[in-house]
């Protein structure tokens, strides 16, 4: 009896949810760490993404509909990011997912995206193996540690003339991967390795590490760290009276990094996939719009959020509908003119073709020393120049 009463109610409910995808917006889900130790960078990514959606909607949206961006906090943790993905797919019925930031979190969301056949793009996670898992729904519009190492090692040797380098990285997949990739590439160019050391997220006192660095006889030090850790480390290198060339990867060449690091930031080098004063009209426009919206210039992660959303919206437009396999095809056909170069994807979903820059911080500003292009990883080193 009870079933009979419930049946019509349930039928209505099912109809309502089945009708949901046919509403007049195209929903895209974004998972970023908005709380926790990388919240600062995750927020920047989300800001870039919001800007991309706002611009697209002002220009008419995709498929003739407005785009609705739904942002969830994944906290850089695999468990929370999976929950966020489930919620976005099941409840919000998003047509595509972007995000997860930390490689370990992205890696956990990938099987969820595959299970529900939802296209999934990361603009940040750089752990190399993600695009080697054969997940047809997964794409990455970011450099991997190895690609960045390859692109930069020559620049670093040519511009800095280093003979013996010490490597310091944050103790996670990304930090370890970056230190190893650069160590390997630089060794290939005949640079001696003085030491490789790691520190934990949120560490505040680096004097022990610096004591070892001072005794290592290196003439340069490579650091893989994000804003907070990197700034503290650089400040302490200067306090400790260590006079070495410092070059880092992570979110270094941002106005915030320079602001919180102060004078200690003078003269350091950063290998970055994006910096706000990259040359080019397309970038100038992006910087102007971003600064108008958020009162500060965009950094690496703001650009990553902006680019990944634009790539996804282009792909949906190209698909001509919200069907997953059509969007995947649309992603494969990507040829996106970004503020930092032209993004395309390999068959595995690895992005390439965009620029990266070696910058030096002088007088509180970033000077672009040289730029290099992230090459198609299928091509060999010999074809780097193309």
């Amino acid at each position: 009896m009870r079933k009979l009463i419930l049946a019509p109610i349930m039928a209505t409910a099912v109809m309502a949810s089945a009708a949901a995808p046919a509403q007049d917006t195209v929903k895209i889900g974004l998972i970023q760490p908005l709380t926790g130790s990388v919240a600062y960078n995750g927020t920047a990514d989300a800001n870039g993404a919001r800007l991309a959606v706002k611009e697209r909607n002002a220009a008419g949206g995709v498929l003739g509909k407005q785009v609705e961006l739904i942002i969830e906090d994944g906290q850089c943790s695999p468990a929370n990011s999976v929950n966020a993905a489930e919620k976005l797919i099941q409840r919000d019925r998003v047509v595509a997912l972007v995000g997860a930031f930390c490689s370990s979190a992205t890696s956990a969301v990938m099987p969820v995206a595959r299970k529900y056949k939802t296209p999934f793009l990361t603009g940040v996670s750089s752990e190399a193996s993600l695009t080697e898992k054969g997940n047809p729904y997964f794409f990455r519009s970011a450099e991997t540690d190895a690609l960045l190492g390859k692109a930069f090692s020559r620049l670093i040797v040519d511009n800095l003339g280093l003979k013996k380098v010490a490597y310091i990285g944050v103790n996670d997949d990304w930090g370890r991967g970056s230190a190893k990739a650069f160590e390997q590439e630089l060794s290939g160019h005949g640079v001696e390795t003085a030491m490789i050391e790691y520190f934990n997220h949120g560490a505040t006192d680096f004097y022990t590490l610096l004591t070892k660095l001072r005794g290592s006889g290196a003439d340069g030090v490579f650091v893989a760290a994000e804003t907070q850790d990197g700034s503290t480390l650089v400040k302490q290198i200067k306090q400790f009276g260590i006079d070495m060339d410092v070059f880092g990867v992570g979110s270094w060449a941002t106005s915030d990094f320079i602001k919180i690091t102060g004078d200690a930031a003078e003269g350091i080098y950063a290998a970055v996939p994006y910096v706000s004063n990259l040359p080019g009209e397309r970038n100038e426009r992006f910087v102007k719009d971003y600064s108008a919206a958020y009162d500060h210039a965009p950094g690496k992660y703001a650009a990553a959020g902006y680019n990944s959303l634009n790539i996804m919206m282009d792909a949906i437009d190209r698909a001509g509908g919200t069907d997953a396999s059509a969007i995947v095809d649309g992603l494969h056909a990507t040829d996106y003119e970004a503020p930092n170069g032209r993004y395309r994807f390999t068959r595995d979903g690895q992005g390439y073709g965009f620029d990266a820059a070696l910058v030096q911080i002088r007088d509180g500003h970033t000077d672009v020393v040289a730029t290099t292009r992230i090459a198609d990883p299928r091509a060999d080193g010999a074809k780097d120049g193309q």
Partner: protein, 290 residues
């Protein structure tokens, strides 16, 4: 040899900071039997307040510290009167749940108000290197260690030699007898929590000027403070100081001679060894109460 001296010096400096960070925790536990899981967040709020006072209000470091202490002391008082008061004498679990809830609330409120950006506090001295033979320190670090010593000594004197301190110790020994003797125990508890909060906040501001601070800093601070307190003995003043120095030096030596990437393992090893061999800590609370 020079390396060893530098490692020990580094360890003693960070040990002094650990001691100050842990002192408020051990004080509140020793006198009130409240395990304060929001300790790290009170530390974080001290840093955020210090940043507000020096950067936004433009005060100098010492005026900022005084303001931070006053505001955080008042916060501690209010937290005790309006929250902890409600679960007093109901065993330890309700207060644990309460302080965990408080820590989540404080982190997220700070996140909402201040945002995620790292905050730097302008220190009273330049961060210039000071050379003591082969050992490098900075003026600010030497100052901070001295400030730690002064704050620890001040807290000790308050508890040992003032009327309020005597009332605190009496209340801890026997709340009923203290009340019969005319001590307003509610006020004593609130003062104790305020004092513990002020110690945490002063550590937050002091260390914020040396490193930098951010709203998610609390978790790691709580973790280290618990290690120090378990090693030194819950509620022991001397234990917090010795425990802090031991943890600092052990971490520096491990980082120096083994690897800096695994340095957090030291805290866990210390906790496990303490619980196996001296479960009440190095300075048993039976002998000395704060």
């Amino acid at each position: 040899m020079d390396m060893l001296l530098q490692f020990v010096a580094n360890g003693l400096v960070s040990g002094a900071f650990y001691a100050l960070s842990a002192l408020g925790l051990t004080l509140i536990f020793g006198l009130m039997r409240v395990v304060n899981f929001a300790h790290g967040e009170l530390y974080m709020l001290g840093g955020v307040m210090g940043w507000l006072a020096t950067t936004v209000l433009g005060l100098n470091f010492f005026a900022g510290l005084a303001l931070t202490l006053a505001v955080m002391g008042a916060c501690g008082w209010l937290v005790d009167r309006f929250l902890i008061e409600r679960v007093r004498d109901q065993g330890e679990e309700p207060s644990i749940l309460l302080t965990i809830g408080l820590s989540i609330f404080l982190t997220n409120t700070a996140l909402l108000l201040v945002g995620t950006a790292p905050l730097t506090i302008e220190g009273p001295l330049p961060n210039k290197p000071v050379f003591l033979g082969p050992v490098v320190l900075t003026e600010l670090r030497v100052f901070a260690v001295a400030a730690c010593a002064v704050l620890i000594l001040a807290a000790h004197l308050v508890i040992r030699h003032t009327r309020l301190g005597r009332a605190m110790r009496a209340t801890f020994q026997d709340p009923m007898a203290a009340r019969l003797a005319g001590i307003n125990t509610a006020r004593v508890y609130a003062s104790t929590f305020a004092l513990g909060t002020m110690l945490a906040a002063s550590a937050g501001m002091l260390l914020g000027s040396i490193y930098s601070t951010h709203v998610s800093a609390g978790g790691l601070v709580s973790l280290k403070a618990f290690v120090v307190v378990i090693l030194g003995g819950m509620g022991s003043f001397a234990g917090a100081i010795v425990g802090g120095l031991i943890l600092g030096v052990a971490e520096a030596l491990w980082g120096g001679y083994i690897s800096t990437g695994t340095v957090d393992i030291i805290g866990f090893i210390i906790v496990i060894l303490t619980l196996i061999f001296k479960p009440y800590g190095l300075f048993s609370t039976q002998v000395e109460r704060a």
